[in-house]
């Protein structure tokens, strides 16, 4: 397992109600040198985010209890998590949904099905800028 130079491994929050996708993302990102914390629904996602304050969050839009938009808004409203980069995942097709995501405060928007490689590239790009 390779690690980044001197800085500690960035922590990434991954939230999706589908187990398989959750594991997919976890594998991909851990293999790429990140620490991953996960959640299965919106409420858990918010709790985990406040507890660990990750460096980036990847949230599925459709989750039980709280959906991705609501979690995004909540994170943005909270001082501690206000500047956290957020990527939303979704299968929704209507273009209005993209705007909705950005309105909620997300930084990026990835459509399902996605290539894990591509997602990793995006994560790297965002974290690299910080």
């Amino acid at each position: 397992m390779s690690t980044e130079a001197s800085s500690p491994q960035p922590v990434i929050l991954v939230a999706d109600d589908d187990e398989d996708i959750l594991h997919l993302l976890t594998f991909r990102l851990e293999r790429s040198g990140y620490t991953v914390v996960s959640a299965r629904d919106g409420e858990e996602a918010l709790r985990v985010a406040r507890e660990h304050v990750p460096d980036l969050a990847v949230l599925d839009v459709r989750m039980p209890k709280l959906d991705g938009y609501e979690v995004t808004r909540a994170l943005r409203a909270d001082e501690a998590t206000r500047r956290m980069p957020i990527i939303l995942l979704t299968a929704k097709v209507q273009d209005g949904d993209v705007q909705r995501g950005f309105d909620a405060g997300a930084d990026d928007y990835v459509r399902k099905p996605f290539s894990p490689q591509e997602l990793r590239s995006r994560v790297q790009a965002i974290l690299g800028r910080r």
């Binding site: 589908d18 398989d20 996708i21 997919l24 594998f27 991909r28 293999r31 459709r62 979704t90 299968a91 929704k92 097709v93 209507q94 273009d95 209005g96 949904d97 909705r100 399902k112 099905p113 996605f114 290539s115 894990p116 490689q117």
Partner: protein, 693 residues
Amino acid sequence: MATARLHTETAEAGHRADAHLWRAAAWFAAALWATYVLVPSEHTVLRGLVLYPLGDVAAVVAVVYGVRRYRPRAPGAWLLIAGGLASFTVADVMLAILEVQGTQGFPSVADVFYLLAYPLFAGGLVVASRAGFREGGRGTFIDAGIITIAATLFALLLITSTYIADPDLSLAAAIVASAYPLADVLLLAVTAQFLLSTSWRPLALRLLTVSLALILVGDIFYSVQELYTSGGDKRLADALLLAGVLLLGLAGLHPSMTALTATAGEVTLPRYSVRRVVSLYLISLVPVVVLTIQALTGRVDYVWITLLAMVAIAALVVTRFVDLVGRTLRAAEREAALSRFGSDLLFRSGHEELVTTAQRAADELVPGGSARVIEAGSEAIDESALFTALVVVNGRVVGSVVADQRLTAEQGTQDALVTVARGLSLALERDSLLAAEQATADSLAEQNAQLRELDRMKDQLVSSVSHELRTPLTSIGGYSEMLLGREFGDLNHDQQDFVEVIDRNARRLNRIIDDILFVARVDAGRLSLERSWVDVAAVAAVCVEAALPRARLGELTIGLTAPDDLEPVWADQTRLTQMFDNLITNAVKFTPPGGTITVTLSGAEDMVSAQIADTGIGIPPGEVDRLFERFFRASTVGAVDGTGLGLSIVKSIVEVHDGTIAVTSAEGVGTTFTIELPVRLPATRPAETEAAE
């Protein structure tokens, strides 16, 4: 009501028979009269005992026959008139016998019968008046009153007074002699009132009028001759009287005799023609004339009677005036009531309220409160005693406005009641229309709500389906990619191949989902475009570039030709890319090895054309028309896979950009698609629908 008769053939024949009979009778009467007039007066027996009584009897028979044949209402009227004629008959026969015997004196028993006739005539007319509900017109009574006073004055002063003043006359004689003019006056009064209040059109009534006039004139001549020429030839008077009697008989025989007692329905006001006014004025001057005559003849008696007469006439004239004013005021009140009714109707709605409004109006119009608005079938209506105006809504009689016939006799009241009925009809109709409209609107609103709900559900379905399908695909594709990336261990050759298959099919499945959802959005009118100025040449180039690997695999040549100065098109770049992709993919799929695919772009005024031509297997001629149908696949596709949605999607994209697409193909030779897109939006395009949240 006059008796109505169904006109069957037998009735027609009956009418003709009646007409013949009447004509025959008329001829007979004319002949009889002519004979009487022409026969010299020496033949008293012939004239007095045969001809004259014959005429009388014929008249009586005629009237009685008429009553039995035509069955008028209140036959008593005609029968009283017949009674009067019978009385004449008896009197004439008696007088003739006395003349023949030479013992004719004055007065005699004959005089009693003569005098009796007048009340009988008058009585007949009074019965007719009552039967025909003609009493509404007070004006006609007043006019008749004026005439009567004038006549009475005339009779009293110029005739009766002479008898009374004559010392040679016995008391009995004086009384009887005075009685005649007074009887005439009575008849005149009643006749005047009757005639003034009725229509003269029916022939029978005209004959009646003329006959009574002749009798009265005959009597006047008789009296004048008696007084001023003392005896002498009464031939003129007799001729007139006979003519009057005969005409009376003919009046009763004519089919229109039923009009005597027919209900007038409504009293017609006396028409204020110049003639009538002048006549009444002249008649009311009779007292002045009498005074003048008296002055000229030097016999100024009974001035007080004349003065009384003038006072009475003046009073009547004033009453007439007051009556008129009253009538006018009542008419104005009716107007006001009707216009209140009209405006009330506009503001009220609902069955109950409208009926109440109509009832109020009817109450105002008919004094005495006998007017009612009744629903159809709620009570039995006595048609003969009540005036009815029907309330008809949508062709159905729903009720009527009724009032006592007698109370509605004043002219204008019935019209007003009809107006009320009509107003109510219209208001009820309007009400029912409004209710229907409201019901329709309500039902439409409900339908709309349901449709909106369905739409919303459809949207949700599309959204869920999309998510449910793509989520598993993400896993399939994602894990395949990770395996192929060899980060989690190496794969042997076969494993590599298998995983590639999984990956490929996952992508394919994804494309199919995309196509289906695209089509669903176009269907729902939910396709939203992100337009920008698109360089079509660049887009085509990208698609051709992307297709190169596949083309090489299939040993195909693919090329693009485009002018340098192609105008940019205001369009959705993603969709145009999708369009080119689909067409080029199709061309690649259906062109056998060694073939060529050419993409040619060109620009004309305000239009950009794209042509995608291939040397592929072509499309059978009968199927070219169906090419753009959803899920349609040509019979020649063979093993090539596809959903049949590709071209349908291309067509949708072209159409949503207001463009046109055409295809020509020849089997075994190739296929060419030609697309034309306008550079700018047409001026009158409605705003594009935005996708719903």
